[in-house]
Symmetry: C2
Subunit: 239 residues, 2 copies
DNA sequence: ACAAAAATAGAGCGATCGTTCGTTTTTAAT
DNA sequence: ATTAAAAACGAACGATCGCTCTATTTTTGT
């Protein structure tokens, strides 16, 4: 299970949003099939066909209501009205309200984990940074409601998942700082500070999507600006 | 009503956290007196002495519970237990649960408004940038629970206050971009992007306070790093 | 076309929510 | 010490919450 198809060349994918989007694993039904596979034992519906259809409705409705009033304030009756499913229908595809939040965390964790893993495999630090920055930016653009939800609704998670969610962020910060150290080992600036800056700059995009009217079409320029700023701040001159 | 005492010299205040803290207007009872004044007609208790004492308890308890489980999930019975006040006691000092969130937004708006206003008055763009960056950073450090609450619980506000809250952010971004334009009118980089970067970097601090174990003692270095990064990113050389 | 199985519907459950209000306690001026 | 006003209390209210469970409908395989 990998974000990019194995036959694709690495550099093609991380050069533009379009390229990344095409090779992205979790589009359409694929995503919900994965969710079904990972949560089979907690879902009453046994046929994937029905589960996928309902899960799609449930998450679409969640991402419509929750950003407006918050996950806690969203009732399952709101969700029922928006999805067109009855209360019983909802509970045939999810085990509890909390489970919705846990699944979102799970999906985001899988995607982020793969990006960090893929970056660590890159020998060239320039490629490794590209993988981290573009991978995170492009993924969070394609999955904006998911990343945004996890960012703002972490408190709705069980304690264990909350800790895991924070660890996700720390892992990314460490991965970033490591790459920066490889790019310029003698840098005079605080690389942990630069890593924190880069991370919050990436998150800014999906956290405040309302600020960016042309959300998906201007993401390549945003990625370019991010990388340029990172290079500049650690005094790295392109070769 | 101003953040800084009039007799103080401007540069002393915006040079270090300690200096800013001493001249900060909203410490201790002062803050709650202001809240009482601004909400008199909605508060049943008529004597300031009692109102201030209760408001202090209420907001302290809110900032203890809410960051852990979220404002929506915090019940007034939780609040009653934490403050030691009864249900009736709570409602003698606040008009509703929602009013708590509205007051937080109000306080943050006052502080942020003053910083932007003070910055716009500065003729020297270097001073104007210092005012914005250090003012916002220092204020949000002193009032971390307030800023953090507004950031994460905007959804709990009435619609009108939500819009105002977003406008607050846009005002700051514009003020920052304006100052950057004055500092380097011929800059090749996208100054709106740099402004967004600076803002999210400032917010990073109070949004993810858990990342910074020495929260208040390392704020001066953080402010220095921020300003250095901003100058570097717009190619501004100190004179 | 028809059982058997699977999925969905929706009324109902106990718990808890924000809020109110009649009562009791505390405060402050005489 | 007295007393009227102010503040605090806490049981009670209607509404709504997440969730369950049985009846009903839809799907599936023959």
């Amino acid at each position: 299970m990998s974000v990019i198809a194995p036959q694709e060349e690495h550099q093609h994918i991380f050069n533009s949003f379009k390229g990344y989007e095409q090779s992205f694993e979790y589009k359409g039904d694929r995503l919900y099939s994965m969710i079904f596979e990972r949560n089979k034992e907690r879902i009453k519906v046994s046929k994937e066909k029905f589960a996928v259809k309902n899960l799609q409705k449930i998450f679409n409705a969640t991402f419509l209501i929750s950003p407006k009033i918050g996950f806690e304030a969203m009732s399952l009756r709101d969700l029922s009205a928006e999805t067109g499913l009855s209360m019983g229908g909802l509970y045939s595809s999810i085990s509890s309200k909390e489970a919705i939040a846990v699944i979102v965390k799970d999906v985001v964790a899988v995607i982020c984990g793969e990006i960090v893993e893929l970056s660590r495999k890159q020998e060239d630090p320039v490629e490794a940074l590209q993988t981290l920055v573009r991978g995170y930016l492009y993924s969070s653009t394609l999955m904006q409601p998911w990343f945004n939800f996890l960012y703002f609704e972490t408190k709705s998670l069980p304690h264990l998942e909350q800790v895991a969610s924070k660890q996700l962020e720390l892992d990314q910060a460490h991965a970033l700082a490591d790459v920066l150290r490889r790019l310029n080992p003698t840098a005079l600036v605080d690389l942990d500070f630069v890593a924190a800056m880069a991370l919050s700059l990436i998150q800014e995009r999906y956290v405040k999507a309302w600020k960016y009217p042309q959300y998906t079409t201007t993401i390549d320029k945003y990625a370019d600006d991010c990388l340029a700023l990172i290079y500049k701040s650690i005094d790295y001159k392109a070769s």
